[in-house]
Symmetry: none
Subunit: 201 residues, 4 copies
């Protein structure tokens, strides 16, 4: 019956949400399974019916959250009529920064646990349109703008690392500047980077 399945889904969600909140507040190492289950208002033993250990919860969470962020950004991009490739890149970065700025907890979690491996996984597995991954989508963005990027993956990597690492410090600790200040400096740099990666023929 569907009732049981639905109940299990609810339990899993409760565990995941509880874990997320605690991972944020105290870090993963300092969050015990007992803590997670107490907050989830479930018995300790129930945890092991859903996950092997807390690191499995973490991986589940990172993937889920990162995918959500990208989806949101791309949905927003589609709603706006932007034609230039550069502008599209900046739009996405800007959207992601805003999302993270409005959800500092998520930022903390993501930036601590996001490796290039997981990020690439996210980009490749987030489906934007039917059967089209985010990676495909970005490639399409360039092509349809009549631009040719020499090494798209490398460009994304560089931009992602720069954005992620500066955002972490700026949004969470306003160090060394405020987000608005960062953006002013960051976007020209990104435009430069894009051009740097463009095939010169």
């Amino acid at each position: 019956m569907g009732k049981v399945e639905e109940n299990k889904r609810k339990k899993k969600d409760a565990i995941v949400n509880s874990a997320f909140a605690l991972f944020i507040d105290h870090g993963i190492k300092d969050t015990s399974i007992a803590d997670i289950m107490k907050k989830a208002e479930l018995a300790k033993g129930t945890f092991y019916l859903y996950f092997k250990d807390k690191y499995e919860v973490r991986d589940y969470l990172v993937r889920k959250k990162a995918a959500q962020l990208f989806e949101n950004a791309i949905v927003a991009l589609k709603e706006n009529n932007i034609t230039e490739f550069d502008d599209k890149i900046i739009f996405i970065v800007d959207n992601l920064l805003d999302q993270l700025n409005n959800n500092k907890i998520l930022l903390k979690f993501i930036s601590k646990n996001l490796s290039w491996g997981i990020l690439r996984h996210s980009i490749e597995n987030t489906t934007v349109n039917e059967g089209e991954s985010a990676a495909d989508y970005i490639e399409q963005l360039a092509k349809s703008s009549g631009r040719h990027i020499r090494n798209l993956e490398m460009m994304v990597f560089m931009i992602a690392e720069l954005v992620n690492s500066t955002a972490h410090s700026v949004i969470l600790y306003k160090q060394p500047v405020e987000l608005s200040e960062l953006k002013k400096e960051l976007y020209p740099l990104i435009i430069n980077m894009v051009h740097s990666f463009e095939e010169t023929c």
Copy 2:
């Protein structure tokens, strides 16, 4: 008596070195104070005469190691006759990347525990010449080259974050490319960044 002081210094060093090796191998959470003191060949209780807990040891270590890296880089810079400001910046970055590439263990430790707060502290408190901090030194570099950087701190921040975050992935996991590949793309970007931060008058 100096002998007593020296003895205490030796004990502290033993603790710190033992802790460093273990933090690297097993992570901080999975290193117990008992482990540290056994490796240091000292009694467990002795730990508390020198540090409050293992996190105090970690902070002590990060500062010490980061300072060492900068000192090495700047010593090397002085030994080479480089006149252009851009080249000096690239030289320092290149030197740091090589140091970290040759000491992946240190890289792992540093990049996991390096925040902008600690980095700034390092730059400000590392004495390059007598009474001159690394921060002062960099400012001097620009001036003596007749260049004027609009916002030096911001520039250092941006470069540091880009270098640190890309290096982590590339050196430790060769993801998405090898270090030599990274350098080829990175250095032009850094030059671009420097120019971006230069006052246009």
Copy 3:
């Protein structure tokens, strides 16, 4: 309906057989009811419809297995035309030792869990012929050979304990000698014991 009964019988057998295999492999304490039921391919809750706990399963098993051993021995005895009482006793012991030697797993299980109480229960409740217990049968053996044993129960007890305890060490660990060596020493001793228990009139 007979079908329902048969179904229940099958389930009980599945539980018992699964339990036996696991008790042997991991010991009773280290066999969980979940293990038993997984191997039996039944739901955990079903266990409690058939047994109170795993110790009830163990007792059920010991009785069943011990009865089987005796039955086999006595069937074999009947198939051979042995007339002397002494020879009959030795034949039974020899047959039991061979059975156990060929089934060390069973030996391990039996000798760990066999008390005189259970053994006597087995001897009294194993039906050899219709309405005749193994105990009755042995008494008959003596009588029909024209022998009179002063204290039959005591004799069986002594022989059983000597055989069981030496067999355990010898068969499982070949300590202190091999089974063939043990038999050479054991059978004369048993003959002696039988004579010892014979009424001297």
Copy 4:
């Protein structure tokens, strides 16, 4: 200082004695380390300063207790002027049975955990006189009585197993008879066994 050492000795004794009592009452598997330490009035963690796990305690206990039993029996033998070899063997068995009868708790523990391996270890390592093991001593007993046993180890094994296994049932459960009854039947059997093992020349 000796004070610390003595204190540690006391703690170890407390653990061992507590464990012994609980092993007897509930069996080893059903005795938790928490139980042991609560009864010993020590902290749970202290256990691990002295033993790896409860099985290490068990082994320590079996060896200690078995050695004690043998020592007592042999001391008593020396105090009595018995000249005949047969009588000496019976004396020792009788003494052991009485010790065990007066200490049923010990009997329960010993007979559950005594394998031929541990028994032989005990016989070989219990020092009766200076530099003389119990095994040596028994051999000496035979020789000095001008008797020659064909296979002394085998004889001891057989007697030990017969005594141990029958005693267990009789002393603890008075099944199938009382101890006095058992002795009446047992001693002639043992004499028979000894003669059986004597070289016929």
